[in-house]
Subunit: 379 residues, 2 copies
Amino acid sequence: MKPLEDYLIVDFSQFLSGPSASLRLADMGARVIKIEKPGTGDICRTLYTSDLIMNGESSVFHTINRNKESFAIDFKQPEELKKLKKLLAKADVVMHNFRPGVMERIGLGYDEVKAINPNVVYTEISGFGSNGTLKNLPGQDLLLQSLTALTWLSGNDEDGPVPMGLSIVDMLAGTHIAQGILAALYRKAMHQMGALVQVSMLESAFDFQFETITTFYNDGGELPIRSKSNNANAYLGAPYGIYQTKNGYIALAMGSLPVLAVLLNCEELTQFPENKFSLKDEIKVVLANHLQTQETAYWLNILEPADIWCSDVLNYQQLFEQEGFKVLDFVQEVTMEDGYTYRTTRCPIKIDGEIFTSQKGSPKLGQDNEGILKKFIDC
Amino acid sequence: MKPLEDYLIVDFSQFLSGPSASLRLADMGARVIKIEKPGTGDICRTLYTSDLIMNGESSVFHTINRNKESFAIDFKQPEELKKLKKLLAKADVVMHNFRPGVMERIGLGYDEVKAINPNVVYTEISGFGSNGTLKNLPGQDLLLQSLTALTWLSGNDEDGPVPMGLSIVDMLAGTHIAQGILAALYRKAMHQMGALVQVSMLESAFDFQFETITTFYNDGGELPIRSKSNNANAYLGAPYGIYQTKNGYIALAMGSLPVLAVLLNCEELTQFPENKFSLKDEIKVVLANHLQTQETAYWLNILEPADIWCSDVLNYQQLFEQEGFKVLDFVQEVTMEDGYTYRTTRCPIKIDGEIFTSQKGSPKLGQDNEGILKKFIDC
């Protein structure tokens, strides 16, 4: 059995962080009902990524909201709010990511929901928490990356700030929300207690940098300095990085320089008897020049048998052709109510050897109103 | 009460992914016992990041392993293995990240541990899963980034592969492990069932790319193309990116070009009446040239009041001076058994308004042997 079977999650959250958490919980067995505004719904439905529109809505929406139901309800109307409260009274988890104060003004703050559902696990996701000078800034991924110094870790020293090219802060906040909800559900099961679970994207971005922030605080407040070329981690010495070869690229993780010098037949490298952190720029230049002289496969064929941590650098087309990718069955086909079918990823967690999949695609706005009214409200 | 109070986690895992998961569970109240090899312990103790050695061991080790106990035991000796099994019989969770087959050879595979502890939650973290052509590759972060195409999303189009400058795959795998363990603990509480929880770094890296992989599969298999300059997400059009100003940088997320043209007083921008994705390179050049003409504060003072999603780009020194950071109390001081004190981050999840902190620093190798023997083994 899936661990969260029979569980009901009512999710007001939009965009990425909250919905990615409820997707994870849905894949682990929970029933997730998305609460949406009639007419427009989750803003993510119309937030286009690239030019790709799938069945009239954004590819992002379809990716994050599969395996969920949609309940369209205008809860600013008192009669509708009453109905919604009947649903909330039966929920195990209620999630939202409105700005601080919005749910309270509607009458659906933690205290109000707790009054009708004493053991509810109530979850708030914010950009910047509910205190402090930053609290009213928009909780958007790129802005969070920029404010939390994440942009000074990728790229090379002279590149200026380089953002990570995915919504990393949203995604981490989503994983933290899911963890907080699961821990609270566990405590609820053991001790019959509800909980208020709060996560901010700001704190998630800091948690992501726990190593580098700890280093900063214990290293006299020195800022990270990326290497001049081939940087992959400002805090790791050479050879750590990606290097160009005659026909592509090769990644090298940690490794002994004298050993590499022999294996790569690189005389010039022997001038560095140890991996001195302060010499990383010079070492990388020597390596970069040398590795360009042969093709990727040539180097891998020497380094892999010697247990050097190295690899090819693949793109999606090359990756998806690998047998090692295909065997995972990581891509599943899901189908929407109207028959529209698309391919997307599955849950990365395996329990008892079982992969959690679901053929259920993302919901059309309000498609589940009738069933939800019948099962939870008009009964 | 912390949700995992009274819970016992026995953790054989090393480096980052597994230990970052047990850190999270420790912060939420669990008792975490690190099983280490006498003499050397977790390899991470001597894996130096930068030049920073804290109290004789690596800063990375101290960051990830605070709030845990250390039990040094040579479980390849039959007598010692017997003792260890007594501890495992009392564990709620057993975790490891050895290569496939290692725990089975020692006699501590899932079946063996289940035989002495039927409801145990047993967790395996691997680099590449236990099937397929990739399974024997080393599960190292940079190599995983390189193999899973993550390196083609950050940086600009002509930069070649650009890795993300943090151990992102380790970190995501850690969050997934924690989620899987929590879901299994919840099911155990409800249904008295143990579980085998498995996570691979490979699948965690794919899950991270759920949006871009879904787009790839539904967009005719086109590879992502980063913009020529100011890239922040290959799938988002202009202005999404970070731009240089007269004295620093400014981040701009999604926004309407005609509105920006007026606010920034940028005549040239009016030639782009809509945010056409295919024109992102041209639009970014216009914006980049224009934004260089004034200081960051000048632009923010215009854009923020107009609710445009924008922000300054800070480094650690600037960030940690912000009142909005200080108010979070995100940095805590922890103390080791020998009195060594250091500053590090805390758990990002808040429950019932409570921040989870713990003053307990990382353990010296084997420091808790006596207490563990007394409480769990010689009793």
